[in-house]
Amino acid sequence: MVKIMETSDIVWEVKKNAIRHMIQSGKRSDGRGLDEYRKIEFVENYIPKAEGSCLVKIGNTQVLVGVKMDTGEPYPDSPERGNLSTSCELVPLASPDFNAGPPNEESIETARVVDRGIRESKMIDFEKLCIEEGKSVWTVMVDLHVLDHDGNLIDAASMAAVKALLNARMPKLEGDKVNYKEKGEKLPVRERPVSSSFVKINGTILLDPTLEEEKVMDVKMIIVTTEKGEICAMQKSGDGSFKREEIEKMIEAALIRGKELRENL
């Protein structure tokens, strides 16, 4: 066992240098262009028991998102607004590096960045999720379930979450009871935020990194854009740094990609 580990480590070191070298000459190991996205597939309403759901595949990466709803008390500072809570589980079947147990840094960051995109873009009309002011409101629970990890989890999770919210139907409210068997109106949504992730490798910036590319990257940037061409969330991730001009370029690219993808959402 120990021996196998060592061999794979050496293979990885060789591969790592090869990937970095290729990128320097403008090529990617899977033949894509630097600003080219992998093939995206959606399966909507994958989980009919959930209020809304979507399975998204970006290349080999697969993320399933389910939306469930329940009633609860509003927060004291927003008595007339519903709530959103986003969680992410890096399911152990998705990668040899994932372990069962409490959420780690990576899953918390994924959930919080996806949450920020949805919340700050004002995608959900929370005021329409008020049942009785100060007493009862709807809580929207978005669960990000990573099924196969081949890089760019945040874009995949964000896309799946937005799709799941767009097709979500609210459960019926009968008195104080929630009837999950009957689906009622559509969830009030009014925006389609799109997340775009970039990584920098040896000074070159590329869109939609694979896991291999994420492993050799210097640093990553996630930019979420709105329909109006605004930025609604950003996050620098990884231990490297960016120049100002690099960030401005990525914003431009994120806005273009957001527009393209939104036509298919």
Binding site: E105, E109, R119, K122, C232, A233, M234, S241, I247
Partner: protein, 247 residues
């Protein structure tokens, strides 16, 4: 951004709610070497924020399997005291502080010469004693002063500062009301020597033009704070020099 409804006028006659100009920082005080046991420490007041940072290390790395044969392991713990906010904060790490700790550690990892200290650990601890918006920036600014105070070799003393959008105006260094009721927040950390951006987060709505202006503001804010960091460090060692001279 809270996005909560408010009747508060955040900007009145070209002045902000606390009387500042759009590109004005809150008052800042930095003290170096305030803790006896730590290898390096820093106390910082920034507006109503009160933050204490301590650095231990390079020291033995535990548990041993987390050692790295090529470089030191850097840890960063951002923690808010239960009494630091209006509503008591439940003690211990939560999702927010875990994320802040992660991005702050990542901001420092390429600044510290970790490769000089293989197999060791360098631990940075930051306690927010009183919170008043912008705590992650105060924490990171104080942490890098504490690292310098610990004598740990670094490529630069990193500085963090936020800019944001309040009532359609881009402003520097949001205070609590502006953070709660404003419409965007952009905390960054830069290496003042190179201008490279080592931490960047954004929430709220900004157009690309507004983003550019906010980034300008935050960068200028960082450069001002950086002068204060350097002065605080110099003051401590000048004082030691004077005390030594008087003996």
């Amino acid at each position: 951004m809270g996005g909560a409804k408010t009747d508060i006028e955040l900007i009145k006659n070209g002045k902000r709610i606390d009387g500042r100009k759009f590109d004005e920082l809150r008052p800042i005080k930095i003290e170096v070497g305030v803790l006896k046991r730590a290898d390096g420490s820093c106390y910082m007041e920034w507006g109503k924020n009160k933050v204490l940072a301590a650095v231990y290390g390079p020291r033995e790395c535990f548990p041993k399997h987390t050692q790295n044969s090529y470089k030191a392991k850097l840890t960063y713990r951002y923690n808010m005291a239960p009494f630091s906010t209006d509503d008591r904060k439940r003690p211990g790490p939560d999702r927010r502080s875990t994320e802040i700790s992660k991005v702050s550690r990542e901001a420092l990892e390429k600044i510290v010469f970790l490769e000089y200290f293989p197999r060791t650990a360098i631990n940075v601890f930051v306690e927010v004693l009183q919170a008043d918006a912008g705590t992650r920036c105060v924490a990171l600014t104080a942490a890098s002063v504490a690292l310098a105070d610990a004598g740990i070799p670094m490529r630069d003393v990193i500085t963090a500062c936020a800019a944001g959008k309040v009532d359609d105006e881009i402003v520097l260094d949001l205070c609590q009301e502006e953070d709660n009721f404003g419409s965007a927040d952009l905390p960054i950390a830069i290496s003042p020597r190179t201008g490279m951006i080592h931490l960047m987060q954004m929430d709220g709505i900004l157009t690309p033009e507004e983003f550019g202006k906010a980034l300008d503001f935050a960068t200028k804010g960082c450069l001002k704070v950086h002068e204060m960091q350097k002065k605080a460090l110099k003051d401590k060692y000048e004082k030691i020099g004077e005390d030594y001279g008087n003996e």
